[in-house]
């Protein structure tokens, strides 16, 4: 049985269900990022209360800390962090890619130095599968080789080719191994190909032949122009099976999510709501606010009127401004809380509008306001 089912479409956008043994995820959905086994500042029960349906973590970071042995001993990441909903775990390809100077990519895998203690490590496609078995990810991303932007065609070609080879090796290892905790795990292929249309097309085409129920589109959000992101998504979607789930890795701002949904994307992850929140940037339907701005010092309104989140229900902009001004940790948490709630509500509304077949109109009405800085 496929892990994904489309309930209804509206234009190219779709309302669906992604299934795994830890739960059913209504799509479109946004995955908050818990790199190190915690979505920064938040308890797992708070995530659930805010509306998280699935969270994302990172094999590279968990491998370094707390390490595979402790995760195994704890019964996997779900038990370790006491989150019993679905978890998708990225391989860490992107993190290793960011370790410029500390890494060396060969056909065998990626050699890198830990950003913590400089120790040497090798990630192979096989090793990443086994790390993910120990983590117990419901959805485990294979090791991929990604390139930055701008990039020359040869490098992009080589990286895409390598990603394909690594996927085949990862799938083989996946078939040869068993889950450690008794529930099924899923290995979604990742489309690479950088921003070179014919490469992106080639990768999408050969991945399409795998007839997977769930694909990721990777290599985006590395500094390219918005039109290039859009083109890379469009090419990927053109070739991947329509009925499969599509996860657009590392995207993005609220209006980016709406744009990608209108193309046919179902899943997102991004550090923006939590990271920007910790920098005092709060998302609202009218745009982004910077709560450090002096004008909020005396502002008795909630960050967003009619918002039902624990920040807006209980505190004023003046209080949040004060917390940031006084460097109180609580400010980081309340801003993260609001931003995640905002993202979850946005995805919930998107889903409702897809089900009501008026997604395009609705998204057009709110999109430009979302992109504002106020």
């Amino acid at each position: 049985m496929s892990c994904f089912k489309i309930e209804k479409s509206s234009g190219a956008s779709r309302a669906g269900w992604l299934r795994c043994e830890h739960g059913e995820i209504p799509t479109p959905t946004f995955m908050p990022v818990g790199t190190l086994g915690a979505v920064k500042t938040l308890e797992s029960r708070e995530l659930e209360q805010l509306g998280a349906k699935i969270i994302l973590s990172n094999a590279y970071h968990l491998y370094l800390r707390p390490g595979v042995e402790i995760l195994k001993q704890s019964g996997g990441l779900h038990c370790f962090m006491n989150w019993h909903g679905p978890i998708l775990v990225d391989s860490g390809g992107f993190q290793v890619f960011s370790l410029n100077g500390l890494r060396k990519v060969t056909d065998e895998g990626v050699q890198f130095q830990s950003h913590i203690d400089g120790s040497f490590h090798l990630f192979t496609p096989e090793k990443v599968v086994n790390i993910q078995r120990a983590i117990g990810a419901d959805f485990m991303m294979p090791l991929d080789d990604l390139v930055g932007y701008p990039v020359d065609e040869n490098a992009a070609d080589k990286a895409a080719q390598r990603t394909w080879n690594w996927l085949l090796r990862g799938m083989e290892e996946f078939e040869k191994t068993e889950p450690l905790y008794g529930y099924r795990q899923i290995l979604p292929p990742i489309v690479q190909g950088s921003f070179i249309p014919h490469l992106r097309r080639r990768e999408a085409e050969r991945l399409a032949n795998l007839e997977a129920p769930f694909y990721a589109i990777g290599g985006l959000a590395v500094g390219e122009e918005p039109e290039q992101t859009k083109e890379a998504i469009e090419i990927s979607l053109e070739y991947l099976p329509l009925e499969s789930a599509k996860y657009c890795m590392g995207i993005g701002l609220p209006h980016d999510l709406l744009d990608a949904i209108s193309l046919g994307i179902d899943l997102f992850d991004c550090v923006i709501p939590t990271r920007n929140g910790r920098n005092a940037t709060l998302f609202t339907l009218k745009g982004r606010m910077n709560l450090r701005n002096a004008k909020y010092a005396t502002d008795q309104l909630p960050v967003e009127e009619n918002c039902q989140c624990p920040l807006c229900m209980n505190y004023s902009r003046a209080y949040l401004h004060h917390l940031f001004n006084a460097k109180e940790i609580l400010g980081l948490k309340l801003a993260s809380v609001h931003n995640l709630y905002f993202y979850f509500q946005l995805m919930k509304s998107a889903r409702e509008h897809i089900l009501e077949q008026d997604y395009t109109n609705w998204a057009r009405l709110i999109r430009d306001d979302l992109a504002n800085k106020i």
Copy 2:
């Protein structure tokens, strides 16, 4: 009507009720410290869930940030921080005392430079009353002059004398002014006198003549020996009216609280549970644990077995160790949560044992374990 009533005594220790318009506080009680209008890392609703009955804040800090005007505009600190239980606000005498080199004490008041921007300010007993009116503290501490340890007798004498004069001026200002938010405020006198027995006695005696329902014992926890703390408390208690509430400022570790309760103290405040928590020190009935210790990396037990706090109910020592190791903010919060819950439960148990008339036995049984480092 007095704001304090003793329900039952057991030896010198007492179970009572402290009342103000924001609520009734069972005593003995511990007040968590929310210096800047937030108990670090915690939302007000979380404090309530953990069992806080009253919180403490600080006039010096609130005066500097967010400032009196914003507090007034917000309807006082209760509304600003969305805590609708009782609040006791310290004058900031202790904080100004800590500004060595940045302050100058005269009979008029204390001149000091802000620790934030170096700006010059003058706190007088009258000004502190008016700041506290703006804050809207249920219990507003008068400005006092405290000395450190060791101290010479002349300096201690002069500071105690000045504290008395400032109290009279503060009381006069208190009588001349009205609450700003419609509920009654209470100004409890503070006994000073350092560790010079006859000075401590003189101050306690003259404060006793005021027949106040609520007294604070100040000038402690400034580096003195435990026996000196005990002696200063004992002298103060000997002269103050038995039926009044006694608040021992800035104390202490769990076993210090039990010791002080056995002398007849009813209220405490201290940064220890939250500050030590943020340093990975967790309190348990078996003693203090440092969760950074490598032995906890693989420890699947909760910090304290049978503890019902949100840390121990949901997470292992291994997870908390990992959070501290990875510098995740969530670790600071979960440690604070556990430590505050531990303090609240300790006060709750103390009260039950006083009501059951076996406080002394109970405290003797658990006291030495509490003082351990494990």
